[in-house]
Amino acid sequence: MSDVNESLVTPLVTTETTDEQASRQGKGSVSDVRSLVVQLIGELPNGWGRLLGAVALSVAATGASVALLAVSAWLLSYAAEHPPALYLLVAATAVRTFGTTRGVFRYFERIVSHDVALRMQSALRMNVYDRLARTTLLGARRGDLLIRVTADVESIMDVIVRVALPFASASIVLLGTSIILGFFDFWSAAALLVCSVLAGIVLPLIAQRMSARTDASSVPARADLAQVVHASARATTDIVAYGRVEQQLAQVAEADARLRAAESKAAWTQGLAAGSQLFIMGVAVAAALVLGGHAVATGAMPGRELAVLALTPLALNESFADLAKAAQTMTHASTALRRIIELLTAPPVGVGDRVVEPVQPAETGSESDVAPAEPEAPSASAVLELDGLAIGWPNNPVIVDDLSLTVKPGQAVAVTGPSGIGKTTLAATVLGLIPPRAGELDVAPSVGYLAQDAHIFTTTISENVRIGNPFASEDDVVEALRRAGLPYLAPERIVGEDGNTLSGGEARRVALARILVISPRPALTLLDEPTEHLDAETAQKLMDDIWATTLPEGAMLVLTHDPGVVARCDREVKLGE
């Protein structure tokens, strides 16, 4: 996966290989993730200070609960020797203090660790956004990738809160406890350390390895279930109309059963790890009784210290339980973060942002960091001239070779061809997002682009329209909406998640308004499958309006496979022939 565009165009393939790789070679991914974490902490103001603070608070909280039981045990044993009450006061105060501080430390540890994790997540989001903005994303199948990125980024929170912090603090507490108990009796402290390493580190790692294999097998099962459910939900009427209800329910049950089998193995492993941890701590208690008991019998250790040795492992068990889960969390998180790392380290494709003609000269400074791939001025009569053009994504094969066509003002030219022939690649090339592979490309400096899946942002209608022209006035926006056939849409209305308060036709008209608000009007407008996913009547009305608003002032290049749209155009160019 050295080539970013491949991973952008075929993310489904990437997922599977990455999951398999992660389960087989967890080592490499863990060290990658570690360097990402280190880099992000470095980017935060006082990042290391915050993280160490969280670790210190966590150690204090866990330590307090261990100390509570240990000191209490000492208190009881010493009290049994009936010393003067004064001698017990310090221990009694310590017990009360540990009882109070544990909850307090834990509360602040949660606050500090979540704060630092959220800051790291923000930093990672900024890095990812910056990186994605610099690579051209127009093209097939990118939707999956972009949706997954947002979920993947959140894994950094898990790595900090659920993995790094518990492991760091548990290791420190274990080591510290063993050292302190070593002053009481060396051999039982050594036994405790060995048991702790087994239960806290070795077991979680074994559980992780075992679950990585079952996780890998549950990924395709989960995907199958999602696929069957998705098809069933979308094709409900078809299933009912053709009497396939029982068959469909059986298919879901079958996919469900396979996922259930995979998940059952995971539950088995988790239970086994937790049970074994408990047993190992039992061994530590037993070792303390035998070895410490021997020390007491020989007089090497005062009797009151035996209870401390025997009871401390019981308090440690609670912090181990989180570690088995932490190791499994790391499997999932490192798979997700590996995808992010791949994305961050891959070389960019194309220019990312299009070079847009400055709309208002005074504001050009903000966009001047973009390397201008200034197109040559088109010949006086044409707004688009392709001469022997070869197109294809950088580092990928040329898809279409020797393409020649001319679009003159007032013309609409259709480019047709079956799905996957390279229509969107042509759009990206004409828009200047990726370079042509060979041949000549002369295009007007200002080009509008209307996509079938233009994104409607969760903000006001007005802000959505202004994406076409950030300097447009409120009146400009209202006028653009009116011409786009949406006179009833209030500019200040906030569009819901994924634009779901707009119908498909309305969303496409908002996208049209983005083009209509560009000033001066673009000499060429690209339409990319403008009728796809619209019902016939809505599509026809939209095409009527586009032809009425866009064509008189410019020209159009229409990428489509809809014969109805082709019929409206002046000319048809077939790709792949």
Binding site: P83, G99, R106, R141, A267, R354, T458, H561, G564
Partner: protein, 559 residues
Amino acid sequence: MAGPINPRLLREAGATRGFIIGVGATGVAQSFLVIAQATIIAGTVTRIVENRSTDGVWTAVGWLLAVFAARGVLTWLTSVLAHRASAGVKSSLRRRVLAARLANPGSQTSTASIVTVMTSGLDAIDAYFGKYLPQFLLSATVPIIVGVAVAIHDLTSLIIVVVTVPLIPIFMVLIGRTTQTQVARRFKVQLRLANHFADLVAGLPTLQVFGRARAQAKGLAASEGESRRHTMGTLRVAFLSAGVLELFATLSVALIAVTIGFRVLAGDLDLNTALYVLVLAPEIYIPIRMVGVHFHDSANGDAAANAAYAIIDAAEAQPTVDDDSDATTAGDSGDLLQLDNVTYRYPGSDEDAVAGLSLAVRPGEIVALAGTSGAGKTTSLNLALGLLNPDEGRVLVDGGKHLTTQRGPDWREQVAWAGQIPGLLGPTVADDVALGLPAGQAVADHTDLLRDALDRVGGESIPLDHPVGDDGEALSAGERRRVAMARALLRVEQGGARLLLLDEPTAGLDEAREAQILWTLRDLGVGVLVVSHREAVLAAADRVVDMTAPAASLPEGAK
């Protein structure tokens, strides 16, 4: 606030209820093992300290290891049983949600919400059964059993337990109430800020086309900062309840420890009993504390279950029409399909989707439904399929039989249908076209038939082995319509359907192909009800029923 236990979810467990009882039983067994563990540890330590000898330590250690081994096995068993319970509930809910969706195809629940509920949504139930429920069962049994075990040897310590334990749930409820209102108040703004990144990333291709992607980075940084401040504000409140819970639990243990310490000093209590109480005291509080820790799992599981039940309930709440005995009293009119002054309104809507529609289709006749968007043309087809019951008027089929959703399945065996945005099941085009064949026919035996049907509806360029799916390689919307048409054609020619229902069958086709399809329809000789706005289709129909939108102000696409 939701109750501590969702009774419906427990009922759902049905056959797997045994596993839940098993989880409870392991909890009870754990308590007795914990008591045994405390007895052995306290007894052994006391004996060694008092006798200064390790006599009998190996026997004690043997018993101790056996106890820990048993506890380990029970821990493993709890995990497995909890998984069984949760998996059973998930499977049952998945089946019921999908069955509800298929029982009520006319419902307006969005595809996306069904997919979410049935896949990742229901996974929240794992934590409910895997973490919350076992802890809840433990918190109801362990403190009582262990408390009694403490009381047998030391009544004084029990008093501390009896005073402090009830305080914990009381405080939890009090704090939970306050935090919940606070959290709910912040939640909306927090969600909007949190989604800004997702929204920008999803819209990156659009931003790049307008050269606006990099300019958004500054706005993103600002909203990220604001989002973090809001989230931390919420967390500070939300962590409070867990913090207080932990404080109470550990403080209570400390209180017990100090109290028994001074009673040992005074000679009121022997070391053996004191150590025994010290080992048991934390065990009383752990399950209660854990209920607090996993409380959000309960809330998430509850929410997931309720989302599933909402879909199931919506399907069951669909009004059923009395199966009137005068099924054929309308008289045999010879009409294949008759809509008699039919009105339908979607639940929750305040306007009729179809208002007072009347039409009839006789065998061999092509009837076209025309009208503006939002006039209810597609809803009319759903009524004719028996997917919806009209609010007023009647749908009569087969010469006057009263069609209700209950009779829908029988009626649909005689109907072929092709929607405007057809859903395909796959895995390949051939499988989908073959849905039109009579049940039980193997796809491989009829490839010629499938190919021929596809060719006659303008799908010559679609390979039969082309995979069907949602990704970039899949069919375009126009190609999917061809597949659905071919399927309907086979249903008439091979499956013996007598009525053909079509929604915009010629959308996106050129005139030559449109004419070819109209000829094909005429040749079939069955009754055809076709929704279309194309001139050629309306001209070819024997009759045109014009539906005008009941609400002309409706925006397009809102049907």
